[in-house]
Amino acid sequence: MDFSYTITAIDGVFILALSLLLGFEVIKNIPAVLHTPLMSGSNAISGIILFGGIVQLLNTPLDHVWTLAAASLAVLLGSINLAGGFFVTHRMLSMFSVKRKPAKGRKA
């Protein structure tokens, strides 16, 4: 099976232009109550920069110690950002939904 995936420069420009428009479309009109979770959630997503570290790490021979160390550092930094961001967003959003339950479950 062929696992290779490459995008050409012009593909990149297309993705860039379309997703820029899409990005603004997706997140406009978000209520203020969700601003903080949105920010920590999007902050978590930016942690996917660690993919670059993964590619570097997996492509570096074991005897290139410093290159491997730098790639490892990138993976570690990115994964803290990624995981921590999603966890803290989850924690915040759980607080928002907790007291919606008693409101719903109230016996009429």
Partner: protein, 459 residues
């Protein structure tokens, strides 16, 4: 082929997840969808890179586990009041990751940079990542109340100088013919200048401008991720980076609008100065006691609380909830009215109130109630100042003139809880205190609220 589908699913999941995060009912699902998409994309990246040997895979799994555990620990320990600090730290790590990646690609992996596109992408990754890294670290220190050099003119001068240096290096790189041998030096210079720029960009920015700054730094990391995505030809990184960048930019602009300030003004560290227009105006202040406030509340039908960062500082959220419960017992409605820039990051107040179990149906946005403020019998202003200053509406001379405010002055009675007569962040005289319907309750907000609750129990 299979990997392409994995990428497709991950990309769609990421977009849909972020879309859900804008809807209160589906936000939690959205967050989990985004997280699942990222995990899927991560597996796809590992598989697509190819088998590198068990040592590599063990190392990778180990690093990811450690990173996840650290992230989980930090995120479960953080107090909600310290959320802006945590987001800043996470953002700093993302920025640092970008700088390391960019430098490692050239210095470590030794990728020959033989075309302008590759070189430009690497430069921009280091530039945005570096600025976001040090900028977020300084923002963290500021938010955490650490001792930092006082904002000074020299910082602004240095920031502008560094920006010029960055622009000059980028211009130099694109003007000169491609030369793979000098490229590492150019990249290193960019990285160093960007790291320094982040520091001096952030140092002069004042506490009340923090929501703008944090949003902007978030956007910068998003752009760094986008650049890294172009570098590694990874569509998920490109789209993820753009979504983050767009979120950050939109929030930045919204925060600026809410403060009636230009982004340029905030970045230039322009601190609103009141000295020239109003110096020491004698104000005739009517003070009120907690007991009197309690009886005022007891005779009210509609009550609103306008919370500001001062409420978070004195940790009075739980007392606010207790007061709301108390008043509910006597069928008095208590609403919370939130200014878009209250707190230290966008939406910070909402999170703090949610943590204290205050139902989010009773938390209202400024724009939703501003035209009907006269329906409130009593408005309690807790730890907020500039956002209720009527001078922003009627005094064209005032430095904050034009900033949208919560029209607390229109309510029948206003009680402002204050520690002392110290002025708000902007140092502008609050003309609300001159109004006949405004009284000041001196003391710590938490203690005052507790005293009011005790008194209400007695009534």
């Amino acid at each position: 082929m299979m990997m392409n589908f994995a990428y497709l699913f991950a990309t769609v999941g990421l977009i849909q997840g972020l879309k859900f995060m804008g809807d209160p009912a589906r936000a939690k699902t959205g967050n989990m969808l985004a997280a699942a998409s990222v995990v899927l994309a991560l597996v796809a990246v590992v598989v697509a890179t190819g088998w590198a040997g068990s040592t590599h895979v063990l190392l990778l799994v180990g690093l990811l586990t450690v990173g996840t555990l650290i992230g989980k620990t930090w995120s479960s320990r953080v107090a909600m009041t310290a959320m802006p600090q945590l987001v800043s730290i996470f953002n700093a790590l993302g920025g640092a990751c970008a700088v390391v990646l960019s430098l490692n690609e050239v210095y470590g992996a030794g990728t020959p940079v033989d075309n302008k596109l590759l070189g430009g992408v690497l430069i921009l990754t280091a530039l945005f990542g570096g600025t976001a890294f040090t900028g977020s670290m300084v923002a963290y220190l500021k938010l955490d109340g650490r001792k930092l050099p006082r904002p000074a003119q020299i910082h602004k001068v240095l920031a502008r100088l560094l920006l010029a240096v960055l622009a000059a290096i980028v211009a130099y790189y694109f003007a000169m013919p491609t030369d793979a041998s000098t490229y590492p030096t150019v990249l290193l210079a960019i990285a160093i200048a960007a790291l320094a720029y982040g520091i001096f960009l952030t140092l002069p920015i004042g506490g009340a401008d923090m929501p703008v700054l944090i949003s902007l730094l978030n956007a910068l990391t998003g752009v760094a991720t986008l650049m890294a995505g172009l570098l590694f030809h990874d569509p998920v990184m490109i789209i993820g980076g753009i979504l983050v960048g767009a979120t950050g930019i939109l929030l930045t602009l919204q925060m600026c609008t809410a403060m009636n300030r230009s982004l340029g003004g905030v970045l230039a560290g322009k601190i609103i100065s009141a000295k020239s227009t109003q110096s020491e105006v004698e104000q005739d202040i009517r003070s009120i006691t907690a007991v009197e406030t309690a009886s005022l509340l007891a005779f009210s039908k509609q009550v609103a609380v306008v919370p500001g960062y001062g409420m978070a500082v004195s940790q009075a959220q739980r007392e606010c909830f207790a007061l709301q419960e108390m008043l509910k017992g006597t069928s008095v409605d208590l609403h919370f009215i939130i200014h878009p820039v209250a707190g230290r990051m966008p939406g910070h107040m909402n999170v703090l109130l949610a943590e204290a179990n205050i139902p989010y149906e009773s938390v209202l946005e400024m724009t939703a109630v501003n035209d009907t403020m006269e329906h409130y019998d009593t408005v309690l202003v807790i730890g907020a100042n500039d956002v209720v200053n009527p001078a922003a509406e009627n005094d064209a001379e005032s430095p904050i003139y034009g900033m949208p405010i919560i029209r607390a002055y229109k309510a029948k009675q206003v009680v402002v809880m204050k520690r002392s007569m110290a002025k708000g962040y902007s140092g502008v005289v609050n003309t609300l205190f001159d109004r006949q319907n405004c009284k000041v309750l001196f003391g710590d907000a938490k203690e005052s609220l507790a005293a009011i609750i005790t008194e209400l129990k007695r009534i």
